[in-house]
């Protein structure tokens, strides 16, 4: 059955209702029967004909049994595959004009939309259920906040909907009671005199009157007063601002003096009245003064310092004094760092070291021994020299490593000092450079270059020797970086003339090599040449008419330039362009770098040390029970005799062998005390997220021994309180301020409201 058919059926039914069909149209059942019989024969005939044809004609279904639905009007489409169309039915109607109205109606029906087939019962029920369920869930969800509240409540007192205990108002209590004794009467008199309220509102008539009394005029006055106060305040503020702006020193001095005088007076007064407080005040003032002094000390702001600053331009001493002062200030104001021995701390400082500007590192290399970063730049800068030097340098570095690891525990403060020193020096240097630039060239011009050639050679040799000696010293001296610095400090002064002279004869290649070596050393030792080099790169290289000093410097730099031009690719550290020939070297460098970066932490040794300590700590200790002075003379400088000590020393027995005795890489702690473990919580209990939380709850005592009575009561309030003998009813919507979800739950009541009354009557009877 498809939709069309249904529609037609529907139309038919309409038709049935609407019209009396013409009498001749419907056929009797008997006739219908007979007709169908004839039809069957006819169809058989048709079939036979079609089979003769051979074509696959559409087969028509044969109706072999009585249909359940036999139409009254014999318009069943069963048996034939054809659909019944409304038009077929209307054909006879067309003829008669009297049926025009019916035709219209039928057309209207035809134009109407088809009504959908109703869903089956199960489906409908399911939909009903789903809707009902969602509605009910919604209704129930209003309980969520209440339930949450109850769950989180500190205390729940059942029964929940407790009625307020009716407290009799005081007037009720008073009404039936009269003052009899004189004392009571007296009290009553007092009360009545003040018109103390006995009834509910807790304001006396006076108070009430005063409250009500504020009339319009009063309010206006009040407002005016407020206004005046505001205006005064603004005046005062303006005045203060003006005063603050006054530049006159004299004025301020006068004001200050006045203030001081006033304070003094007050203080004196206080001293008379309350000496202890005055003393305290005094101490406070003193403290404040000291604080101020301390904080201001050695700043450049003092009178003296200012004068020096002016002088410093011209006077070297003054400059130095100023520097000193600044250094002092830095030293004093610098935060004290606690020297700690832990590795992490040291690591931290190392990182800090890396973070400080690059220039600092350059010097530090000198100072601290090998700095991998600096070292690398050095080697790469001077390629040839480095390649030659490498074998020499490696053992040296190794030696440094060893020494460094030995001197691990070097306090951090030292490094700090070094840093500071370096900074000072740097600033000094800069200044001096500037000065040197400014200085007339004529100061050292007079030196004859040719006559110095021989001398310089000699000096160069001696210098080399010296330097070698120094480097050896460096190797030897593993600790004591500060003395090193001090030792090295004279070096620049020594080296300077040499450098100057050497620079003149950089012509031959053999010497160049040598120089490269030296240069490297110098680079390592002195930051200065490098810096100068950097500086001079900016300056034009070949300027014959430049001042002598400058020229000398330039020549030195020329030398470097010369070297760098030989391998321009190596100039920049960050972007090595030529690799192939330097690869293995680089690798080595890398390895070295890593080695040096982690030179400080010798993990294995640390672990062994730790283990040794752990073993020592776990060993049972001897118990010494000697009592000095017991049974013999005692006193300062007297020790109990050896015999006694032996007697009272209880030797600890050898403990069982450690579990990690044969495991070199493991420490197994044997501290766990099984007797204590029975009283220890092993796993973090559920509601806690961190062990510290748990510990804190445990460590807060709740007993009255450690808490005040009130706190104790608060801490020990039970979560649920029930009253004995009281019936606890289920929670009600009305109790918690909700409307009950429905007046009546009954589905039936809406249907027959009459019964409600009877039911209520019955209830009353029950």
């Amino acid at each position: 059955m498809n939709v069309n058919q249904v529609a037609e059926n529907l139309a038919l039914s309409h038709q049935e209702e609407l019209v009396d069909l013409p009498k001749n149209y419907p056929l009797s059942e008997n006739e219908d029967e007979g007709d169908s019989d004839g039809e069957r024969k006819h169809q058989k005939l048709l079939e036979a004909i079609s089979s003769l044809d051979g074509k696959n004609r559409r087969k028509l279904a044969e109706r072999s049994e009585a249909s359940l639905k036999v139409s009254e009007f014999s318009v069943s489409s069963e048996g034939s595959g054809e659909k019944l169309v409304l038009a077929d039915l209307l054909e006879p109607v067309k003829t008669s004009s009297s049926l025009a109205t019916i035709k219209k109606q039928l057309n209207r029906v035809k134009s109407k939309k088809v009504v959908e087939l109703p869903l089956n019962k199960e489906k409908i029920e399911q939909i009903h259920r789903e809707v009902a369920f969602s509605k009910t869930s919604q209704v129930l969800s209003k309980w969520d906040p209440i339930i949450l509240k109850n769950q989180q409540a500190e205390q729940l007192v059942f029964p929940l909907g407790k009625e307020q205990p009716a407290i009799a108002p005081i007037e009720h209590a008073l009404s039936g009671w009269k003052a009899r004794t004189p004392l009571e009467q007296e009290i009553f008199n007092l009360l009545h005199k003040n018109k103390q309220p006995v009834t509910d509102p807790l304001l006396t008539p006076m108070e009430k009157a005063s409250l009500q009394a504020m009339s319009l005029e009063e309010a206006k006055m009040h407002r005016a007063e407020l206004q005046r106060a505001r205006a005064l305040q603004s005046y005062y503020e303006a005045k203060a601002r003006k005063e603050k702006k006054i530049k006159s020193k004299k004025y301020h001095r006068v004001v200050k003096k006045g203030k001081a005088k006033k304070a003094l007076k007050e203080f004196e007064q206080l001293q008379k009245v309350n000496p202890t407080v005055a003393l305290e005040e005094m101490e406070k003032i003193e403290n404040a003064r000291m604080m101020e002094r301390m904080s201001l000390k050695h700043q450049n702001s003092g009178k003296w310092a200012k004068s020096k600053a002016i002088m410093a331009k011209y006077d070297l001493e003054a400059r130095q004094a100023m520097q000193e002062q600044l250094a002092q200030n830095k030293e004093l104001t610098q935060k004290l760092q606690v020297a700690s021995e832990s590795e992490e701390e040291e690591g931290g400082t190392e990182v800090e070291e890396l973070l400080v500007p690059h220039v600092v590192n350059e010097v530090q290399m000198n100072v601290d021994g090998p700095n991998p970063w600096m070292f690398r730049s050095c080697t790469s800068d001077t390629k040839e020299a480095a390649t030659q030097e490498d074998p020499e340098q490696l053992p040296e570095l190794a030696a440094h490593e060893v020494s460094a690891s030995g001197a691990e525990e070097r306090p951090v403060a030292e490094e700090e000092i070094l840093l500071r020193e370096f900074e000072e020096r740097q600033s000094l240097r800069k200044r001096s450079e500037l000065n040197q630039d400014a200085e007339p060239a004529s100061s050292q011009e007079t030196k004859d270059s040719s006559s110095q050639e021989v001398l310089s050679e000699l000096r160069a040799l001696s210098q080399k020797l010296k330097e070698k000696h120094q480097s050896r010293k460096q190797k030897a001296s593993s600790e004591g970086t500060v003395p090193q610095v001090q030792r090295e400090e004279p070096a620049p002064e020594e080296a300077e003339p040499l450098l100057l002279q050497r620079s003149e004869r950089v012509q031959t290649l053999e010497e160049l090599e040598e120089l490269g070596k030296e240069d490297c050393f110098q680079n390592k030792e002195l930051p200065r040449p490098v810096l100068e080099g950097q500086q001079s790169e900016r300056t034009p290289n070949n300027r014959p008419d430049a001042p002598k000093e400058k020229k000398e410097k330039e020549q030195l730099i020329n030398l470097q330039n010369f070297l760098t031009t030989q391998s321009p690719s190596m100039r920049s550290l960050a972007v090595p362009t030529i690799i192939e020939e330097l690869e293995d070297e680089e690798e080595r460098d890398q390895r070295q770098m890593i080695k040096e970066a982690f030179a400080g932490d010798d993990v294995i040794r640390d672990f062994l040390k730790e283990k040794r300590e752990a073993v020592e700590a776990s060993k049972p200790k001897d118990v010494d029970l000697t009592l000095p002075g017991w049974g013999e003379w005692g006193g300062v400088g007297l020790k109990p005799s050896a015999k006694k000590r032996r007697q009272f020393l209880i030797k600890a027995p050898e403990g069982p062998p450690r579990k990690d005795k044969n495991l070199p890489n493991v420490i197994i702690s044997e501290k766990r005390n099984i007797h204590a473990a029975a009283h220890q919580v092993q796993v973090l209990p559920y509601p806690f997220t961190h062990h510290r939380q748990f510990e804190r709850t445990i460590q807060t005592p709740i007993g009255s021994t450690w808490n005040t009575q009130r706190a104790f009561q608060k801490l020990t309030t039970p979560k649920v309180v029930t009253k004995p003998g009281h019936i606890i009813k289920p929670i009600k919507a009305e109790d918690v301020g909700y409307q009950s979800s429905s007046r009546s739950d009954l589905p039936v009541i809406q249907r027959n409201p009459k019964r409600i009354t009877t039911r209520h009557n019955k209830e009353e009877k029950l």
């Binding site: 009903h128 369920f133 752990a614 493991v666 092993q682 796993v683 748990f694 510990e695 039936v748």
Partner: protein, 597 residues
């Protein structure tokens, strides 16, 4: 191996467990204290939590005299040691702190007490220094000492001022001077721990939950009902059709009715307490008056409804004159009519129990023998949802404080607490019984419920815990068929196969009767202590320990083994199959077969 041996250890050390390894599974506790602990903790797997004693040790910043009497070896050492001079009587300022509130700080301490100075007694007086005595400090001036100002002499003496300890009237509380400074109480945690331990032990000692047995029925007790208005009245129906009404205070039967032929399947009281309803195997619903008939009258029901099928359960609406029965279907009846006002059914199996929601009273829940729980809405006369569990549910009970929560007592030994809005996962699976759970009833506070089981025990479960907090059983109690929690939430009644109704305390160790305020305070304190230290293994063990009959005990063991085997198998299956092919189903979801809309 312990060193030093116990008899050589100082009392302090022996009193407290040594500050043990600070290594921890979770985190090493005191890094700074135990030098190498941070690294060690990471390396080795041992762990422990702070013992109270330890934490006390930690808190203590300065050495203090031990609280215990010194051991014989150490005592002389302590006394004669070079540092014996350091031992001083309690300082004056400490004492002053004791009385801090009472004392006037301006008043010089010496003035008042100058008359009490007895120089020689100073050394010993400390011993006698009780609450009433206190140390006052006198600073002697130059007039005293020949040395003059340069040497100020401190003299300590006892002062005794009645103001500090005598109460003004007899009605006042006695003044208990107490200093709450935590620095003075280094052992608070260990002390509380000991108190908690003692409280737990005492709780077990006093746990005597059984109150009375009400005998009189001549067959097993099949159902129980509470009187809604009267705490002392309880109704019970037996398997021989007899209904009895009991008075709990007198512990006797006050009325007997032969209500039905065959079982009394269900019994419920009207919300006003004037009448009650029973259903029986004889296919009838009967309404009875709560008060007995007059002298000479016969016991007759107010109404009798003859049904077509057997009714297996009944429950009354909480507000209106409507009740619901169950059997082949859930019928909702008006009290005045002999035909149900509506019948609701979903599926075709016998429904064993029906319960009205006490809060949202139009809701009903029922459970049928085809393993399902069905919820109904009375207003719309339609079922709402159905959840099918692994096995049959015997009864359900709604939480009287939480509208959408109900608990189902299941044949598979478990109880399931559901949120009716989300039936696909139970909120909690309560397991501890070792046989089918036959009945369940909520405490009126809604925090706990009691369940009766075929394993001859009843158990009390907190709503939010999956394990029971209590199990009650006696030698003679057989399969427990029905259980009720009284409306004051203090008692539990259970009816069992062997014809008795038993009355239990809901809190096994609770003291009955009126408590004085001090008793109450002590009770509350102990309760809080138990709560606070409940995770400590020693306390936990004692608190959880219950004696169980051999049958239950062995059953528990057996089931543990079975469960473990099942778990192992599941784990193995997951392990040996393609990852993701075997889904991991949580314990909660395991038991829900389906939710039908």
């Amino acid at each position: 191996m312990q060193w030093p041996p116990p008899w050589r250890r100082s009392p302090l050390v022996s009193a407290t467990p040594p500050p043990g390894p600070t290594t921890g599974l979770l985190c090493p506790r005191r890094v700074s204290e135990a030098g190498d602990s941070s690294t060690e903790g990471a390396r080795t797997g041992h762990s422990h939590y702070v013992t109270p004693a330890e934490s006390a040790m930690e808190r203590r910043s300065q050495p203090f005299p031990s609280l215990r009497p010194a051991s014989p070896t150490n005592a002389p050492a302590h006394g004669r040691g070079s540092d014996c001079t350091a031992k001083e009587p309690p300082l004056a300022n400490v004492c002053r702190q004791n009385y801090g509130a009472a004392q006037d700080p301006v008043e010089p301490a010496g003035r008042r007490s100058a008359s009490h100075v007895t120089g020689s007694s100073l050394g010993k007086a400390e011993v006698a220094c009780g609450r009433r005595w206190r140390w006052a400090e006198l600073v002697a001036n130059s007039s005293w000492s020949p040395a003059g100002r340069a040497t100020e002499m401190k003299v300590k003496m006892l002062s005794r001022n009645p103001d500090n300890y005598v109460r003004e009237t007899k009605l006042d509380l006695q003044r208990v001077p107490r200093n709450y400074d935590p620095a003075l109480h280094p052992f608070e945690v260990p002390r509380e721990y000991v108190r908690a331990l003692n409280a737990t032990k005492l709780e077990r000692v006093f746990a005597k939950p059984f109150l009375a047995s009400l005998d009189g029925h001549r067959d097993g007790v099949n159902c129980l009902a509470k009187h809604p208005e009267n705490l002392a009245t309880v109704l019970s129906g037996a398997c021989d059709g007899e209904v009895r009404i009991w008075n709990l205070t007198q512990r006797n039967c006050i009325r007997t009715i032969q209500a039905h032929e065959g079982f009394v399947r269900g019994i419920c009281t009207r919300f006003c307490g004037t009448s009650f309803f029973t259903v029986g195997d004889d296919k009838t619903v009967k309404q009875w008056k709560m008060d007995g008939p007059g002298c000479g009258d016969e016991e007759e029901p107010l109404h009798t409804i003859l049904g077509k099928t057997v009714y297996t359960g009944i429950d009354h609406h909480w507000k209106e004159a409507v009740f619901a029965t169950c059997g082949q279907q859930v019928d909702i009846w008006d009290e005045q009519r002999t035909n149900p006002i509506c019948s609701m059914t979903w599926g075709f199996d016998s429904i064993s129990s029906v319960k009205f929601n006490p809060i949202e009273t139009f809701l009903l829940g029922s459970c049928a023998s085809d393993r399902n729980i069905v919820l109904y809405d009375m207003r719309q006369a339609t079922p709402l949802k159905k959840v099918i569990l692994d096995m049959r549910t015997n009864t359900i009970c709604w939480n009287p404080m939480e509208a959408f929560i109900f608990t189902a007592a299941n044949e598979d030994y478990n109880l399931y607490t559901f949120d009716m809005r989300a039936l696909d996962t139970p909120v909690m699976v309560h397991m501890d019984h070792v046989s089918a759970v036959l009945d369940v009833d909520y405490s009126p506070t809604g925090k706990e419920f009691v369940s009766a089981s075929f394993d001859k025990s009843i158990r009390i479960f907190p709503v939010d815990k999956s394990r029971s907090r209590e199990v009650y059983h006696t030698k003679r109690m057989q399969h427990v068929i029905c259980v009720k929690w009284t409306s004051d939430s203090k008692y539990i009644m259970c009816g069992s196969d062997e014809m008795n109704i038993r009355l239990w305390k809901a809190n096994a160790s609770e003291k009955l009767g009126v408590l004085t305020s001090r008793e109450k305070a002590a009770k509350d304190y102990n309760q809080k202590l138990k709560e606070k230290f409940q995770h400590y293994p020693h306390i936990k063990r004692i608190a959880r320990h219950r004696h169980l009959p051999k049958s239950i005990y062995s059953q528990i063991q057996e089931q543990r083994i079975m469960k473990e085997a099942r778990r192992r198998k599941e784990v193995n299956r997951i392990k040996h199959s393609k990852p993701g092919s075997v889904p991991i189903v949580s314990e909660k979801k395991k038991h829900v077969v389906a939710v039908v809309k």
